[in-house]
């Protein structure tokens, strides 16, 4: 890696004692010797293992649950169903007033995705818990399922989640988040060319090497210590407190080094049920996802569909950009309404466009709920925006890099969401990329600055 210190040197103090120096990481000696403590590097006498009996159907009503055979299975200590969970209906972002509560810890009346948790089985070994879970009998009435976002938004589509009529998240702005800036239709009217394209993505797994999990021990004083690999200690504590109707001071979360997160450990899924199990059995409880659960049960990055309609002039100016984005939340909200909103704030990308129209929808379908992953709300948007930029450049016969220089935002430019641009450095990144990649552009682009516009 090379630091190009000549850019913006007048904005920095490079003469500091500790900042700007590549000090050796103090944690790495622990990593290489295997001494770093991850949550699962602990053993407790009498530890119980929790395994989940999960829905085999994409969408079904639950008619009955029979746990009698599971309870009799050798090694099984306790079986938990929805009625054991004090506040079974929850949503994680309720902490920052983003509701409604729309997901059950354990399904009671209905399952809305294949893999949804129905019954938790606690046993003295993983194997006994797994075998016990296989003996849970659930009678289902299978319902029609919907997987495609546009199908889900049709009026006669199966209702994925009773808390979200119409299968969309209801923002205060309606069925989608809006950004309106300038007059997009006037922009299209003046444009030399209009290009409308659709981009799609599929769900993506965070795939940390360490799977999601926790170990809970009853402290003996009505408090519970939860060793967890969550990315957010208090998010977990506060949500567990709500779900378990247990005051926060009864809960003690201990993290450490997490074996990779990438957004996959921001949901609060394993901890509340494991704490409940420890409380009801009085024994330490371990609930750790298998690799298969990590791959298909834990929330992935949402699939998205993004339609971009642009108006561009022959001289390279982007004069109108209209974006319609759809985020596939799967069956429950988790962080997806937030992600769709983040997309609305991100468009039209790092470019100054005078006429912008943005609609982003968060849509419910019968699949694994999606949630946070490295860059969500923006990653797929950038794929769509930057492929679109390439197409536009080629449409008007312009070099793709020069086309970006022409439209790049600068300090002081008003963004579509009505914040002035500050601290921009896109132009300098492009100048440096041009040099390092030997991708020449016209001289005037090397003279540009993010700090001001040329006269």
């Amino acid at each position: 890696m090379e630091l190009r210190k000549d850019y913006f040197s007048d904005e920095r103090n490079d003469d500091l004692n500790e900042i700007g120096h590549s000090r050796t990481r103090s944690d790495t000696p622990g990593h290489v010797t295997g001494r770093t403590a991850y949550f699962a590097d602990r053993t407790f006498p009498g530890l119980l293992h929790l395994k989940m009996m999960r829905s085999p159907h994409h969408h079904a009503n639950i008619r009955s649950i029979d746990v009698s055979e599971a309870e009799k299975h050798p090694g099984v200590i306790r079986v938990l169903t929805a009625k054991d969970v004090p506040h079974n209906l929850y949503t994680i972002l309720i902490l920052i007033q983003v509701g409604p509560e729309d997901e059950t810890v354990l399904a009671d009346k209905k399952v809305s995705w294949k893999g949804e948790a129905v019954v938790a089985v606690l046993a003295t070994s993983e194997r006994a818990a797994q075998e016990g879970a296989a003996k849970v009998k659930v009678e289902y009435e299978v319902l029609p399922a919907v997987f495609d976002m546009e199908e889900a938004l049709k009026p006669d589509a199966p209702l994925v989640n009773e808390h979200h009529p119409g299968n969309f998240y209801l923002y205060d702005s309606g069925d989608h988040r809006k950004v309106r800036f300038g007059d997009v239709e006037a922009g299209f009217a003046m444009a030399d060319h209009i290009l409308e394209q659709t981009y799609n993505s599929s769900p993506i797994e965070q795939a940390p090497l360490e799977t999601t999990g926790c170990i809970v021990t009853p402290d003996g004083n009505d408090r519970f210590t939860c060793y967890t690999d969550t990315q957010a200690m208090f998010f977990t504590l506060d949500n567990a407190s709500i779900i378990l109707q247990m005051p926060g001071h009864k809960l003690h979360m201990v993290g450490g080094t997490v074996g990779g997160g990438f957004g996959g450990k921001v949901d609060v899924i394993v901890e509340p049920i494991a704490i409940l199990a420890a409380k009801l059995t009085g024994r330490p409880v371990s609930f750790i996802y298998s690799r298969e659960e990590e791959m298909q049960i834990s929330s992935p990055r949402a699939a998205e569909r993004i339609v971009i309609r642009d108006g561009v002039m022959n001289d390279g100016r982007l004069v109108a950009r209209k974006v319609t984005g759809y985020t596939d939340a799967g069956a429950y909200s988790r962080h997806s309404p937030y992600g769709a909103q983040k997309g609305a704030a991100h468009y039209p990308g790092p470019y100054t466009v005078e006429n912008v129209w943005i609609d982003t929808y968060c849509v419910y379908t019968n699949r694994t709920p999606s949630s946070a992953m490295r860059g969500f709300g923006v990653t797929i948007a950038d794929f769509a925006l930057e492929v679109q930029m390439d197409k536009l450049a080629r449409l008007i016969g312009m070099d793709p890099l020069e086309f970006r220089f022409i439209n790049a935002y600068r300090d002081g430019d008003m963004k579509a969401h009505r914040q002035p641009t500050e601290g921009a450095a896109l132009i300098e990144c492009m100048q440096e990329a041009s040099r390092v990649a030997d991708w020449p552009v016209a001289d005037r682009f090397y003279e540009m600055s993010s700090r001001s516009r040329e006269a």
């Binding site: 994409h58 490295r374 500050e422």
Partner: protein
């Protein structure tokens, strides 16, 4: 049938911290009797090296060596609230909280040192190696060690500080979308070179030239770790990764690392990393969040390079050999080779 080469570019920006703000983090700093400093947090280290960076931020602010700072974190019984480690917020949000806490602790430390030296606290400075001295008169000095001892056992002063950082929550206007989603943005521009096998549809990313604006590289080698690993993940996203290969069809999802594909050590692109530092006005020592943005620009750069190589657009991620091949077949149906 041939291997065809192409080149593509992409440029991006990325917001630091939770969208629309409202995501606080706190830090507490105190000294031990012998002048070591403890930072208590509840933030989580995901492996990106949060502890190391936070100790450097604290050390710089107090004016002691990094080794003198210990980070005690991820325990809700001892650490004050942190929203969490996500949204490229750790360095920026928690770093700012530590700067505030460390400044307060430094002020107390200098007050105690001033009493010991019988000078004005405003005339003191730290040398960064464990000593405090009068500006312009380095011989009139006291060690941080002796200062902390005096604070504890003579003056009854707690060398400590509290820090809290919160970007106030913004609420979008319903009809216009006017809002303040973030306070600072990182930037990047990437040029990717690919080779596409037009017989199999396979894409090899030969090289990526990644230029990133990170605000400030607080620990350059650790920034490099993020940027290089992120670039790999971006390429992986572009070409390989999904849990539902035939989305929206729910079938054929991978359940293990044999089915869920990512580039291995034998499939690496030659990766060149260039860093520009335009400090963020509100970042700790100018730092912006880079954990997420570093993995984004490779995806469109690779997609654009594929078009440059073989003239087909695959507008659905991931750009698998099957999708490339189908696009090539559709292309040859439309315009048979003459």
């Amino acid at each position: 049938m041939a291997l065809k080469r192409g080149r593509g570019v992409a440029a991006i920006n990325y917001p630091t911290g939770m969208n629309l703000g409202g995501d606080p983090s706190q830090a507490l700093v105190h000294s031990t009797p012998t002048g070591s400093f403890m930072v208590t947090l509840s933030s989580v280290d995901l492996g990106q090296g949060l502890r190391q960076v936070m100790s450097q931020i604290c050390a710089e602010t107090i004016g002691v060596p990094t080794e003198a700072v210990t980070i005690d974190t991820a325990d809700t019984d001892t650490g004050p609230h942190c929203m969490g480690t996500f949204a490229s917020r750790g360095t920026h949000r928690i770093g700012n909280a530590i700067v505030q806490a460390a400044r307060e602790a430094r002020d107390v430390m200098l007050e105690v040192a001033a009493e010991e030296l019988e000078v004005d606290a405003g005339d003191l400075e730290t040398d960064g190696t464990g000593n405090i001295h009068v500006k312009g008169a380095p011989q009139k000095s006291i060690s941080v060690f002796d200062t902390a001892l005096a604070a504890h056992f003579k003056h009854g002063r707690s060398i400590s500080g509290r820090g809290m950082f919160l970007v106030p929550r913004s609420f979008p206007e319903t009809e216009t979308g006017a809002m303040k989603p973030a306070t600072c943005y990182a930037h990047a521009c990437v040029v990717a070179d690919v080779e596409v096998d037009d017989e199999t549809g396979e894409v090899s990313v030969l090289s990526v030239k990644n230029v990133y604006d990170v605000g400030r590289a607080l620990n350059p080698k650790m920034v490099e770790q993020q940027l290089v690993g992120g670039s790999w993940m971006g390429i992986s996203h572009a070409l390989f990764e999904t849990t539902e290969p035939y989305y929206p069809d729910r079938d054929n999802g991978g359940t293990d690392f044999n089915q869920y594909l990512m580039p291995g050590p034998g499939n690496l692109a030659d990766t060149e990393t260039i860093v520009i530092e335009r400090p963020a006005a509100d970042g700790p020592y100018g730092a912006k969040g880079v954990g997420e943005m570093c993995a984004n620009p490779q995806i469109p750069a690779v997609a654009n390079a594929i078009f440059d190589a073989v003239g087909v657009r695959v507008d659905t991620m991931p750009i698998t050999p099957e999708r490339v091949l189908r696009a090539l077949k559709a292309q040859s149906r439309e315009a048979p080779a003459g």
